[in-house]
Amino acid sequence: MSVARTVGWTVVAVVMMALAVPWFLWDSAGVAFGLPVWLWWHVGWMVLASVVFAVFARTDWGLGVEGVH
């Protein structure tokens, strides 16, 4: 069902944007392996974004863009 998939991917996109900044680590100054913890979150999140985008490109590319009349 393409409506359900569109909604699902929209939710995924919103989550990817919303948590790109680790708001729950606000004011935290913890350091791990030489870098602030929030920076490690950023590293992981960008890698995750790449994977999510690759999955989207492979499975549902075109959703919401192609054939929208």
Binding site: A13, M16, M17, A20, V21, P22, W23, L25, W26, D27, S28, A29, V31, F33, G34, L35, P36, W38, L39, H42, V43, W45, M46, V47, A49, S50, F53, A54, A57, R58, W61, G62, G64, V65, E66, G67, V68, H69
Partner: protein, 495 residues
């Protein structure tokens, strides 16, 4: 830079002189080239000097702002706007954004307006590159070579490059320079961290001098500011002539898909080391001379002169390639969306003579534009990030009306005039002290706010664009010359 010139000449020999080839490399760019040419347009003074300066002054959270903006929001827009534009552009043969909109709404004024707005905001961004180059030369030579030599040198170089090469040459040099700079940034990080005893030591030093830098948020970085900046830059980047035009230049759907998926990782690889250098420099007690940048100062302190010079030369070459992408796209906006419609008003000559004249306009336009921005770079105050942010937010005002035009068939010509024109007026009034000056003339003291509950005028303008475009579209009817069906595309078109 020498390599860049050679690539330009080869590309020149491969380029036939048609506009589609000159501006879009005949829509044939492959994954690596598209990825890096888009990436390289971001490899500008804004990234190399502005970003680290900000991290040096206010902390490394700028990495998060740029990561959110570029790695995620821009990638989503790449799909939502970029892929759609690519499909539409492929079907109808569009080369510029103004052309695409003008055709759909049957409106030459809209086309001229969009191109005009784009050229206005392109100006400060080209100027930023010249300013960055001037500062880099001053920093590298410790003031022995004056600012105008660096800024002027890059101006001449970029004019020459645009004149000979076209999109193909620009895209190829972007790829080379992108790879080269990415490697150099990592070598620089390795070198400096080795010298100070590792990332742990460097971060510990930073914790001593500026403990607030390690804590997320604080100071400049409020949630509203971070989100405002990330959103307005991401929206702005999408409407940048040189980025937007790349949406039309991809070779195939596969190329767009791969670029999309690789994008966040590339962003990560560039921004983390570049901005951490700036932040670490604060802990290492690097002093930055007035009117200079932190990266050259840091390199000068911890690496041999030849390496510092290499990085600066690489950064300048990258700024140059950003700039010539901008000038190339700018010249296509100028000739196709401004000059051609004007020509129709004043009557056309014979076809062959017209082609020659158009080519002349394109090149003259580049020379005049680059020269003016060079002159402006000598006198304009403001930091690199401030100038860049102003330009990005100006472009960002276009994004919502364009998205609505692409997806909502109820959008009307008047809705677009209101959305594009209204937001520009709103934003310009906030950037330049027009209201203050006028009020001053009648003896009143009135000023527009610099923020609305912590949100920047750029963001408020984006929302205003939504309200204006939708509102005016709803109360006006479609003009007979409009064709809402133009943007209907199927995936089949892509294959």
């Amino acid at each position: 830079m020498v390599v860049a010139l050679a690539v330009g000449v080869v590309a020149y020999r491969l380029t036939d002189r048609s506009a589609e080839d000159y501006y879009l490399a005949s829509r044939t760019l492959g994954t690596v080239v598209l990825l890096f040419t888009t990436f390289a347009t971001l490899l500008s003074a804004f990234t190399f000097f502005g970003g680290p300066n900000l991290a040096f002054a206010a902390g490394p959270e700028w990495i998060l702002v740029m990561g959110l903006m570029d790695g995620i929001i821009f990638a989503v827009l790449w799909y939502v706007l970029g892929y759609k534009q690519w499909l539409v552009g492929k079907r109808h043969g569009y080369v510029t954004l103004g052309e695409m909109l003008g055709d759909r709404f049957g409106s030459t004024p809209l086309r001229v307006l969009v191109a005009g707005v784009s050229l206005v905001w392109l100006f400060p961004y080209v100027m930023l590159q010249q300013k960055g180059a001037g500062q880099a030369i001053v920093g590298l030579t410790e003031g022995a070579v004056p600012f105008w030599v660096g800024a002027g040198g890059i101006t001449l170089f970029m004019i020459a490059y645009v004149a000979v090469s076209g999109m193909r040459g620009v895209a190829w040099t972007d790829t080379l320079q992108g790879l080269f700079m990415l490697s150099l940034v990592w070598v620089a990080v390795a070198w400096i961290l080795t010298a100070v005893g590792g990332a742990g030591e460097a971060t510990a030093a930073l914790a001593e001098t500026n403990p607030e830098f390690l804590a997320l948020g604080g100071g400049l970085y409020s949630p509203q500011w971070m989100l405002s900046t990330a959103i307005s830059i991401a929206f702005g980047v999408t409407m940048f002539p040189q980025i937007n035009q790349r949406f039309f230049a991809a070779g195939s759907k596969k190329v767009l898909k791969r670029t999309f998926a690789l994008w966040p990782v590339l962003v990560l690889l560039l921004f983390v080391p570049a901005f951490m250098l700036g932040a670490w420099a604060a802990g290492l007690g690097v002093t930055v001379p007035e009117g200079s940048n932190v990266v050259p100062a840091l390199l000068a302190q911890y690496t041999p002169t030849w390496f510092a010079a290499l990085v600066i030369a690489g950064a300048m070459a990258a700024m140059m390639s950003s700039s010539d992408s901008m000038l190339l796209s700018g010249s296509s906006y100028l000739t196709r969306d401004v000059y051609r419609p004007l020509k129709r008003v004043f009557g056309e000559g014979e076809a062959a003579a017209e082609d020659a004249r158009e080519a002349l306009v394109a090149r003259l336009g580049v020379v005049v534009f680059a020269t003016l921005s060079f002159v402006a770079s000598l006198y304009t105050p403001g930091t690199l990030v401030q100038i860049g942010d102003t330009a990005f937010s100006g472009f960002a005002q276009l994004t919502v009306p364009v998205a609505l035009a692409l997806y909502w068939q109820g959008t009307t010509r008047y809705g677009m005039y209101a959305g594009v024109g209204g937001t520009q007026v709103f934003y310009v009034l906030h950037v330049f002290p027009v209201v203050e000056t006028l009020a001053g003339l009648v003896g009143a003291s009135v000023a527009l706010p610099t923020a609305y509950m912590g949100w920047t005028p750029g963001i408020v303008g984006i929302l205003l664009g939504l309200v204006l475009t939708v509102g005016v579209s709803l109360v006006t009817s479609t003009a007979p010359e409009e064709d809402p069906a133009v943007y209907r595309v199927d995936g089949v078109d892509a294959d």
